[in-house]
């Protein structure tokens, strides 16, 4: 069984390194500040007994007043997982750091989120629409994008 | 890599295809021979039963695409009755959710036949009496175990054998 690491435990370890990074520790996930995302991610990836070398998925949820990005990290060596979240509270121009340099697997998923949610990933090498065509108006998965508009 | 095995593998493959030359073809020659489809088949028609329908519109609500268009009204005896039911078979995906949703259980069915094609788009929209059971439209056993028992057994490819050996 993949063990879901308790987020409070990791939060304690992170507090030493990044005292201001953690906004909230829930039972199943760890919510951090967007500014520290890249640092924390590389810490999680490179710390020997954590070694989250596998990024299972990235997704984004639109909670109307903010976007929440969800990262599920897995370690294939220790077989444990952690859900990392960050909230993006600028609805106009949401910008998050790109994870492509750490995990190549983020490449298409970040493009997908950029395409469907309209979140810009800073540092992504090839950030452009992936599913929809150039010139498509809006970002369909946002809640303010009603379903019946044809474009 | 290379051909270190002297073309052994090629010869083996050729032997297998040659063996298949002498196996009987598994083709069903469709217009003349037909397979018995599954008893629960979700054929390309929806059959509506006017007599048992209580006009609750559960099927229309259950439909994921809203291809069932049902308008109801209160009759003189205060009972709901269906004024008009239209199903667009060009839109319908035959998922069977309407059949599952039916509270009476025998007002809407999927059909057992699947031979259905039209030259015109407009002819795919059927309504009212066209949806009723007829000689050309048989009821399928999907979600109707009682009907299921009356239907012929399905032809299975697994069961066909070649000279006593499993069909291959």
């Amino acid at each position: 069984m993949t063990v879901a690491l308790s987020s409070s435990e990791i939060a304690d370890r992170l507090k030493n390194q990044f005292p201001e990074a953690i906004t909230e520790t829930k039972k199943e996930c760890l919510i951090i500040k967007g500014d520290f995302l890249l640092d924390i991610a590389s810490f999680l990836k490179n710390t020997p007994d954590l070694e989250f070398n596998y990024l299972s998925y990235i997704t984004c949820v639109d909670y109307k007043d903010y976007f929440e990005l969800v990262y599920q990290l897995v370690s294939t060596k220790h077989n444990h997982s952690l859900v990392l979240k960050t909230q993006c509270r600028q609805p106009e121009e949401p910008i998050v750091d790109s994870m492509v340099d750490l995990w190549k697997g983020a490449d298409f998923q970040e493009r997908e989120i950029y395409d469907l949610m309209g979140i810009t990933f800073k540092g992504h090498p090839n950030l452009k629409r992936i599913f929809l065509w150039d010139g498509f108006q809006g970002h369909p998965l946002r809640k303010d994008n009603s379903n019946d508009t044809e474009n | 890599m290379g051909f270190r095995r002297y073309g052994n593998g090629i010869a083996k493959g050729m032997a297998l295809t040659f063996k298949h030359l002498f196996r009987k073809p598994i083709t069903t020659q469709y217009p003349e021979e037909r397979l018995n489809v599954s008893r629960r088949t979700r054929g390309t028609q929806i059959i509506w039963n006017r007599d048992t329908c209580i006009a609750c519109s559960a099927c229309a609500r259950a439909c994921p695409i809203g291809c069932i268009d049902m308008s109801t009204s209160r009759g003189e005896d205060k009972k709901l009755k269906v004024d008009n039911i239209t199903i667009d078979f060009g839109l319908c995906i035959f998922c069977g959710l309407c059949v599952e949703a039916c509270p009476v259980g025998n007002a809407i069915f999927l059909s057992y036949n699947w031979e259905y094609a039209e030259y015109q788009r407009s002819k795919l929209v059927l309504s009212n009496d066209e949806l009723l059971y007829s000689n050309t439209k048989q009821v399928s056993g999907y979600y109707h175990p009682d009907v299921e028992k009356t239907l012929p057994e399905q032809t299975l490819l697994v069961n066909r054998t070649n000279r006593g050996k499993p069909w291959d």
Binding site: G105, N147 | G9, T17
Partner: protein
């Protein structure tokens, strides 16, 4: 002596015989050698995640069918598992077994297609493909018997499956299971040692272990690169912990290894099926669930080992009839990430084969 050549750009697809759907590869070639590629997808983007937000939980099941349309059963499963996790619905034991039987049959069917179309990409004139389609047809027959459709099954429900299996199902399945290994041997005879096939596949498109993990690749591709990672074992779901089976892995991670892993997995699936038939308990197949399901506020992620890789559904509920957000972790899309690294430097013909060996389904890539 070096010749000065000018690279040129060629579009493979979106309509191309061996892109398995509407996939487009903008490739820069230097003669026959691929200099660079850019996969362009989205030609089948139907907005399933958005549509799902507009329909209620049950109506979303048909949508999941159409993700990886060659493995519908496997797509139903994680979705209903995610909803069950959210709404805390218990599944009867018999239903769990039926689900596993279906999922494993689906794995065989999907791998048959994957191997068959890989052989097609190699240029065999449809013969292995036709032989494999014959076995797939047998499996499809059984699916049809259970749920009435041949391709898009819409079979699983919250708290079980929509129908119990008919009486004639188990004998037919036994027959299938008993003959299947023989057929897999035949495919091995036809393909595995063929020198031309070996020359085309061995050493081609190597995906090193580190890169595979880093690219979030999953499924047979990851295992071919030598990582023993199978959700059925590492994060066992349903009742998989009651079965004996191995995770086939290979070492190098070239096209041939990916082909081998698929063939081995079919054998393992047959093993699981044999055990599942033995253990199948009697009883109910569907727990009582309100038709207007309103799961409590929260989120859930359920994942399974689908034929193509780790298929997961991330579901957010706001206590209404409709899901607030449904994200699909599509293995095909993420497996594509590694394509560029594998293809560059190979010939055009190899690019096609490497692409074929990933085994993607465009319905799942684009959603």
């Amino acid at each position: 002596m070096t010749l000065k050549t000018e690279p040129f750009v060629i579009n493979l697809g979106p309509v191309h015989p061996s892109t398995h759907g509407v996939f487009r590869l903008r490739a820069t070639l230097d003669g026959e050698v691929v200099m660079d590629i850019e996969p362009i997808i989205g030609y089948l983007h139907r907005g399933i995640e958005k549509i799902a937000e507009g329909r209620n939980y049950k109506q979303d099941i048909p949508l999941t069918d159409r993700l990886d349309y060659v493995a519908s059963m496997s797509n139903n499963l994680p979705y209903v598992m995610a909803v069950e996790k959210l709404a805390e619905i218990a599944v009867p034991e018999r239903a769990e077994y039926i689900r596993i039987i279906m999922a494993e049959m689906q794995r065989i069917a999907s791998h048959l297609l994957a191997v068959g179309s890989l052989a097609n990409d190699l240029g065999t004139f449809f013969t292995p493909f036709q032989y494999m389609f014959r076995e797939r047809e047998k499996i499809v027959d059984l699916f049809e018997m259970v749920c009435g459709q041949r391709l898009l099954y819409n079979y699983m429900r919250f708290g079980g499956v929509s129908h119990d299996i008919p009486d004639e199902f188990i004998p037919a399945l036994c027959k299938l299971v008993s003959t299947m290994p023989g057929f897999i041997d035949e495919y091995d005879q036809l393909l595995a040692e063929n020198e031309i096939l070996l020359a085309r596949l061995k050493g081609v498109g190597i995906l090193p272990k580190e890169l595979a993990i880093n690219s979030s690749v999953s499924g047979p591709m990851l295992r071919a690169s030598g990582v023993e990672w199978d959700i059925r074992k590492v994060d066992s779901y349903s009742v998989y912990d009651r079965f004996n089976f191995d995770i086939p892995t290979e070492v190098i991670g070239d096209c041939y290894d990916r082909y081998r892993v698929r063939i081995q997995e079919m054998r393992q699936s047959v093993r699981i099926l044999e055990q599942a038939i033995e253990q199948l308990p009697p009883g109910e197949v569907l727990a009582k669930v309100s038709p207007r399901l309103k799961p409590p506020v929260g989120e859930a992620y359920a994942h399974i080992e689908a034929p193509k890789g780790e298929l997961g559904f991330y579901l957010v509920s706001d206590n209404s009839e409709k899901p607030y957000r449904l994200h699909i972790r599509a293995p095909s899309l993420i497996n594509l990430t590694a394509l560029r690294e594998m293809v560059i430097g190979w010939k055009l013909a190899d690019a096609i084969v490497i692409f074929g060996s990933i085994d993607i389904c465009l319905g799942e890539v684009d959603r």
